[in-house]
């Protein structure tokens, strides 16, 4: 249940990213801004759901605090935020080449990150948090 929900959220973020990238590639700054705002908000929400609910619960259940998979995932979230900031700055300056370059980097970072989550972390979390999956899902959606 948790894995399915979070995995579908990954795909939604992908689609929003693709729309922002396509608009920027067409040179349409206004459309790129609108699509990027939507993408950024959704990605930020996804990262928060993991950092504020899923990761702490997972760390609690497995005893892996500050080590193990969640530590690496948190670090990659920070790298994503930094790239989001660079994309935001490039859009403000209407520098679409920099926007697309940072976007390509963010996409590769996100894709390899998602692969690790979907193949390893989420299945581990499903196992560790099987009993409380329902309430956890509600807490994540309420954020």
């Amino acid at each position: 249940m948790l894995a399915k929900f979070l995995t579908e959220d990954h795909r939604d973020c992908d689609d929003q990213f693709a729309r922002a990238e396509a608009a920027a590639s067409d040179g349409d700054v206004a459309a790129a801004r609108a699509a990027f705002a939507e993408f950024e908000a959704n990605l930020a929400h996804h990262l928060e759901m993991e950092e504020r609910v899923l990761f702490p619960e997972f760390e609690q259940a497995t005893g892996m605090h500050g080590v193990g998979p969640t530590a690496v995932m948190r670090m990659e979230h920070e790298q994503m935020r930094s790239l989001l900031g660079q994309m935001q700055g490039a859009l403000a300056a209407e520098d679409l080449d920099s926007f697309l370059g940072a976007g390509e980097t963010l996409n590769v970072l996100i894709q390899q990150h998602n692969m690790k989550e979907e193949h390893m972390l989420y299945p581990m979390a499903e196992q560790a948090l099987a009993a409380s999956a329902g309430p956890l899902l509600e807490r994540m959606q309420a954020l």
Binding site: A22, V72, M75, Q79, T105, P123
Partner: protein, 431 residues
């Protein structure tokens, strides 16, 4: 479940980069050989220069790049860690460089001693690689279709290596007969379909949907494609050993799973959700179309008495399909790796953190440069194919092919140069 997964398992950057940056240099060497030898190289399939060229590309470019990529991708794709990556990379890379040069030298000079040493060195380099990567792959927690495909590809590499060693010892004048004909056909089939083809399939399951935002490959296809290549390869090998007259039926069948793969991937790419194209996408498409052409020509070759069609099929497979797939991967992996390592270096430095940013992937390797390489490689492929019919074109094709590899080399080595400059900038921050 095994010990807690540390997902931060990426090896030091020098581990993959030494392989990935060496690959185009061997391509330049192979093109030079063709430039010097001219149409003599393509005279027959047993021309020593052609055999040298095939190994410079097959080992020096394709296997070199694939080994480097596998060492980098295993932790991400499979969650499998490789202990002691630095010494392993040194032995595999050093051995692959030396062994490939000696093997090509053995063909060109007709030197039995060079064949003997090449066989020993390649046995150590590739045998070591197979055992290290194999143990990581077979330890993987949740083997998915991609992991299982990589295992089969590794077995394909092992079979290629063993057949190659038997052939090399035949050349080395050890008294062993040179198993030319059936032995060479098997060596080539395992190299192209068992190792290169299967690995591209296994990696494509992951990277095509990831980077191009396509739908996933259908579950049934993922489960059966790589094993089907393996089964058909074994049946074809058994037939050619025990019933040589039935060979002509077996080899075209071998191509069927790869044809299904090419058509399925082109279909996925046609409906990709990411609308912005790049050089990597162009290389995938070129490679898949070349694969279909190679299969069509290979199937037709049964109806011709000469080696021409078979040579053309192998050219399309190696210079068209395999090389393009490798380039599609290089243009994603090299700039991303450099960005990632720069980012980590910045994060580790209190003075640099939040003050400087690493150049993004497109700043490290601008798209127009990758496109220029694509254009040259496409032109070289067209001329290489044309040269099979009109031998006077061989040197023009070779010159273009050299230019394509040289531009690839410049593209990749420039990224490394930028990496070094940025490292100094980061280290100098706050001092």
């Amino acid at each position: 479940m095994n010990a807690p997964l540390a997902l931060e398992q990426a090896p030091p950057i020098s581990v993959p980069l030494r392989f990935l940056l060496t690959a185009p240099l061997f391509g330049m060497l192979a093109a030079t050989l063709l430039l010097i030898g001219g149409d003599e190289v393509l005279a027959t399939r047993w021309s020593p220069l052609l055999l040298a060229l095939t190994h410079l590309v097959g080992l020096g470019v394709l296997t070199m790049a694939m080994c480097g990529a596998l060492l980098q991708l295993l932790p991400v794709l499979v969650g499998a860690q490789i202990a002691q990556p630095l010494p392993i990379a040194a032995v595999c890379h050093g051995g692959l460089v030396l062994g490939t040069l000696l093997l090509a030298g053995g063909f060109v000079a007709g030197s039995g001693a060079m064949f003997a040493v090449a066989a020993g060195v390649l046995a150590i380099a590739l045998g070591g690689f197979i055992s290290v990567v194999g143990s990581a792959l077979w330890r993987a927690d949740r083997p998915d279709a991609s992991t299982r495909g990589m295992r089969l590809a590794l077995l394909g590499l092992l079979a290629t290596l063993l057949l190659g060693l038997a052939l090399a010892l035949g050349h080395a004048g050890t008294g062993l007969p040179l198993w030319r004909g059936t032995g060479t056909d098997l060596h080539l089939a395992f190299a192209l379909a068992g190792w290169v083809g299967t690995l591209v399939v296994a990696v494509a399951y992951q990277v095509v949907p990831m980077f191009q935002m396509t739908a996933p490959y259908p579950q049934s296809l993922r489960a059966w494609l790589a094993p089907a290549i393996g089964v058909v390869l074994l049946v074809a090998a058994a037939l050619s050993a025990w019933a040589p007259q039935s060979q002509s039926l077996a080899w075209p069948v071998l191509a069927l799973p790869l044809a299904v793969f090419a058509i399925a991937t082109l279909g996925l790419l046609a409906h990709r959700r990411r609308k912005v194209g790049d050089a990597s996408l162009a290389f995938w498409r070129l490679g898949l179309v070349a694969l279909l052409a190679a299969i069509a020509v290979g199937a037709a070759s049964r109806f011709f008495a000469t080696d021409l069609a078979m040579q053309l099929a192998v050219t399309l497979f190696i210079a068209g399909f395999a090389l393009s797939a490798v380039c599609a991967m290089l243009y994603k992996i090299v700039p991303f790796l450099v960005w990632l390592h720069l980012q980590q270096r910045i994060s580790a430095s209190a003075a640099a953190r939040h003050r400087i940013f690493p150049p993004n992937m497109k700043a490290l390797l601008p798209e127009p440069r990758a496109r220029a390489h694509f254009g040259l490689q496409l032109a070289a492929l067209v001329l290489l194919v044309a040269a099979a019919f009109w031998p006077f074109l061989v040197r023009t094709a070779a010159a273009l092919w050299f230019a394509a590899f040289a531009v690839l080399a410049r593209n990749l080595w420039t990224v490394l140069a930028r990496y070094r400059v940025e490292c100094e900038r980061i280290d100098g921050c706050g001092t």
